[in-house]
Amino acid sequence: MDHILSVLVFFPAIAGLLGFVVSKESIRAYGISVAAIEFLLSLWLWFSFDGNYPGMQFVEMLPLIPAFGISYYLGVDGISLFIVVLSTFITLIGLIALSIEKDIKNMIISLLFLEMTMVGVFVSLDAILFYVFWELSLVPMLYIIGAWGGELRIYAAIKFFLYTFAGSLIMLVGMLVMAYLYHQATGVWSFAITEWHRLILPMNYQIWLFIAFFIGLAIKVPMFPFHTWLPYAHGQAPTIGSVILAAVLLKMGTYGLVRLPLPMFPDASVYMIYPVAVLSLIMIIYTAMVAYAQKDMKQVVAYSSISHMGVIVLGTFAMNPEGIAGSVFFMLSHGVVSGALFMLVGVIYDRRHTKLMSEFGGLAKVMPHYATIMGIMVMASVGLPLTMSFVGEFLSLAGFYQISHTMTILAGTSIILGAVYMLSLYKKSFFGEVVHEKNKNLKDLDGKESMALWTLVLITVWLGVYPKPVLEPINTSVESLVSFMHKKAITKEAREVIKPTVIKREAE
């Protein structure tokens, strides 16, 4: 199947368009079926993917604006493959667990469009195409937050949109400069990322371009101090919105970091390691502390998300296969875990219409099943070994340890501080006596909720115990990426810092 990527990208969009015809009563089933088909398609992609080949696979190339070097250029490698699968998977799970009744049709159609943009971002190999999907993803998300959100939903939605939009426009300028420089060097216009990777730039160009790209991506990640849109977006968004936002949309930022600035500007990336690491550290520690101060369960999870994204960024800037592969893996695990956590908060919100921890307490008694899953996910979020998060967090930190010992120790506090806020969340809402009258008769998870959540639990544990099927393709691509960066780097420092794998694993 040569065009599986195109099918993956446009299938949900076409299904979304056709969805206008489907009657309101059946739209949920329609949405789930579409998402399921899409998910199966992505699984097919996975199984037909050659894990030992580090380069781009299933490449599709169609000139779109040849005069300007813009083309419809798709492809996946180990880095993007699983994020694509994650996107389709989370959409499916989110749709299964969807509990919204109001304007359900619009919701499902927007979700399907959102799915298109998410998949699109991760499979685009043309910078402009990447940008198109990147920006387009804002629109359905704006609608989802703004139409089904809480009280401040419009504020939150606009903030989300404008903030990211502004950042990405700066990135766009960076892309244009990049294209110009490419043109200068080769005489040909091209926006193909793979082509850009080949361009070796002088240091000062690299740094400025790095900054331009970084700002755009950092806002999406969101890096401190550009993170303040996120708590609002999460706080106001409906459950499904938060799930997708945390699980997939944020990954666009970190994925972008791996795909764009790192291989494009290896020297600048190395040069900027410390500033970026400092920001990440602030992100990790500061937001973890802020998370502890929250009164709202969802805000805790939201800030925890930021904190974990800090580790991902840190891992990315480790400049060695361990760190980068770890951070890519952490993206996946964070997707699953934070998605699950948001879903769990949504469960209780559906029942009580409040997310304040002070309103709860003793939930473990009334909703033991729920408490169990929450417990597992809390532990996964904390990064317990044999959950997915541990693999990612461990590798990210291990990778960055090579860059800076002190900083890794500081970043490592995330495992402590994470435990602090997560456990206090768990304690406040699940332990203790049932104080509030309303909580005494809460229903435990129903069928669709437990189905969705147990799936996530299973994946969390499965990939925590046996990450190999995912980690190996990632590693293959990342190793080639790092050795490519090493080869490409022009400054001595960068060559020293970027460490391709030298220690070969023992023969199996």
Partner: protein, 495 residues
């Protein structure tokens, strides 16, 4: 005594004049038809106008680049052809907006259509000459017709709009005349190519006086192009005019103005008169930014669109300032894309136009009018949102590609700061476009009657909207051929 003058017909190159003649003759024809039989329906005139414009367009397309005619008064270069195509296409698309289901005053006049065609002819003259006299006369012909068309909407606000536009236009005409006079005093010529030659030969000796002349030119063209601070008429005139005409005004007079501005300023910029570039730079930045921030606080969608069109014009002026072939081509690309998006947006406003002011005592299209539209009329809301997103520059909708090209042109000429300013302005502008989307999608409806948004709709109007939706969404497919077409023409005329 005087030698007898013999002029051969070939040397006149009458073909260069043909397109305008078509429009003028057509307009006269309409007047004649009206004389012969009164009370013919507006549909006849609309379709006649479209046909005349079609013929006109056909003639324009038949022209070849690089001709001069009529003692070199006419200049048919790439710019002239391109801009005439845009002008005619826009006119053909906007004039059917007269086919509303409700009756409006202006369309009861056959003269409306005659004036419209005269106006088109005026714009065509403006762009198809580098003689300051002809440009001036063409400009005035078009402007006078336009003032009248605005006033013909026949309500107090439209008179107010027409008067404001007219008076300021008169002042701008004075500026233009003064500027032309100074150019003439400097070079003894009123033909731009000649002016350029003489100035270059003098090595720009009389710089100060030249700059004073340029100042007046900037002021008068700035008025046409609504550059800050000569822009103050724009929002008021858009508000007072009918939505259809406002949309037209946001596109056609501007492209004519751009072409003139290109002709006037480009040779200066290319001769490294840094002053012009610096001043234009400042003007571009101020125009973009100021219009954007005022647009933020508007309560009426049409007025917001007026400010947005100022901002877009500022954006595009940057292309003139940059002055490379890529930039000039980008200008045309941008404007074509802008044409379709704006056509759609204003048509949507036009379609939802009510006679009675049921939403707001002053505004026809306050934001509140559109609240909750998605629930009442989902298709309309989605379509409107598409236009807004396109205007905001969200990819892959049409204007994004225009912005991309212009920003790229800026980057390629080392105006990276300018590109960043453009980016930031795009981000600011997103807010007010988004505001409408927020009203349409995120708020609860104030009215439950879905037809309320389609009171003025008719099949032709819906067709036009559909047409612009298609072009807005699938613009990406059209960009490459369009760009190649434009670039070839721009290059051929040496810009």
């Amino acid at each position: 005594m005087l030698e007898p003058i013999s002029v051969s017909m070939e040397s006149l190159n009458l073909g260069t004049l043909a397109p305008m003649l078509v429009a003028i003759v057509g307009a006269l024809g309409i007047l004649v038809i009206d004389l012969i039989k009164k009370d013919l329906d507006k549909t006849l005139y609309v379709m006649l106008s479209v046909l005349i414009l079609f013929v006109d367009l056909g003639v324009v397309l038949g022209q070849t680049v690089g001709q001069r005619g009529f003692f070199d008064v006419m200049l048919i270069d790439g710019l002239a052809i391109l801009s005439q195509i845009i002008i005619l296409a826009a006119s053909m698309l906007f004039i059917p907006l007269a086919l509303t289901s409700k009756r409006f005053h202006e369309y009861s006049y056959p003269e409306f259509f005659a004036l419209f065609l005269f106006m088109v002819a005026g714009f065509q003259f403006m762009v198809a000459s580098d003689n300051l006299i002809l440009i001036f006369v063409g400009l005035e012909t078009a402007s006078l017709a336009l003032y009248t068309l605005i006033a013909l909407h026949n309500r107090e606000k439209s008179f107010e709009a027409a008067v404001k536009y007219f008076v300021m236009g008169a002042l701008a005409a004075g500026f233009y005349a003064m500027g032309a006079m100074i150019f003439y005093a400097l070079t003894g010529s009123v033909e731009l190519y000649k002016i350029a030659e003489v100035l270059a030969a003098d090595n720009f000796a009389n710089m100060t006086i030249l700059l004073v002349g340029v100042v007046f030119m900037i002021a008068s063209l700035g008025f046409k192009l609504s550059m800050v601070p000569f822009h103050t008429w724009t929002p008021d005139v858009y508000e007072g005019a009918s939505a259809a005409l406002a949309g037209y005004m946001s596109v056609v007079p501007k492209i004519a103005g751009f072409v003139v501005a290109m002709r006037v300023f480009e040779f200066l910029i290319h001769s490294d008169v840094v002053w012009v570039r610096d001043i234009l730079y400042a003007a571009v930045v101020i125009t973009m930014t100021l219009a954007n921030i005022i647009a933020l606080v508007q309560k009426d969608v049409k007025r917001m669109l007026a400010f947005s069109s100022i901002s877009h014009a500022g954006f595009v002026m940057a292309a003139i300032m940059i002055g490379t072939t890529q930039a000039n081509s980008a200008l045309f690309l941008y404007w074509i894309l802008f044409l379709f998006t704006n056509l759609g947006a204003f048509a949507m406003l036009w379609v939802s136009r009510h006679k009675a002011s049921i939403w707001h005592e002053r505004f026809d299209h306050p934001y509140e009018k559109f609240s909750g539209m998605i629930k009442i009329m989902p298709v309309g809301a989605v379509v409107m949102a598409l236009f807004m997103l396109s205007l905001a520059g969200v990819p892959p909708f049409s204007l994004f590609w225009g912005k991309l090209y212009i920003m790229s042109a800026a980057v390629n000429s080392d105006y990276i700061v300018l590109a960043l300013i453009m980016a930031i302005n795009s981000a600011i502008s997103a807010y007010y476009y988004l505001k409408l989307i927020v009203y349409m999608f995120l708020k609860d409806p104030a009215e439950n009657d879905g037809t309320v948004y389609m009171k003025n709709a008719s099949k032709p109007l819906q067709t036009i909207i559909g047409f612009s939706v298609v072009l807005t969404v699938f613009a990406v497919l059209a960009v490459n051929p369009m760009m190649e077409f434009i670039t070839s023409y721009v290059q051929a005329s040496g810009f």
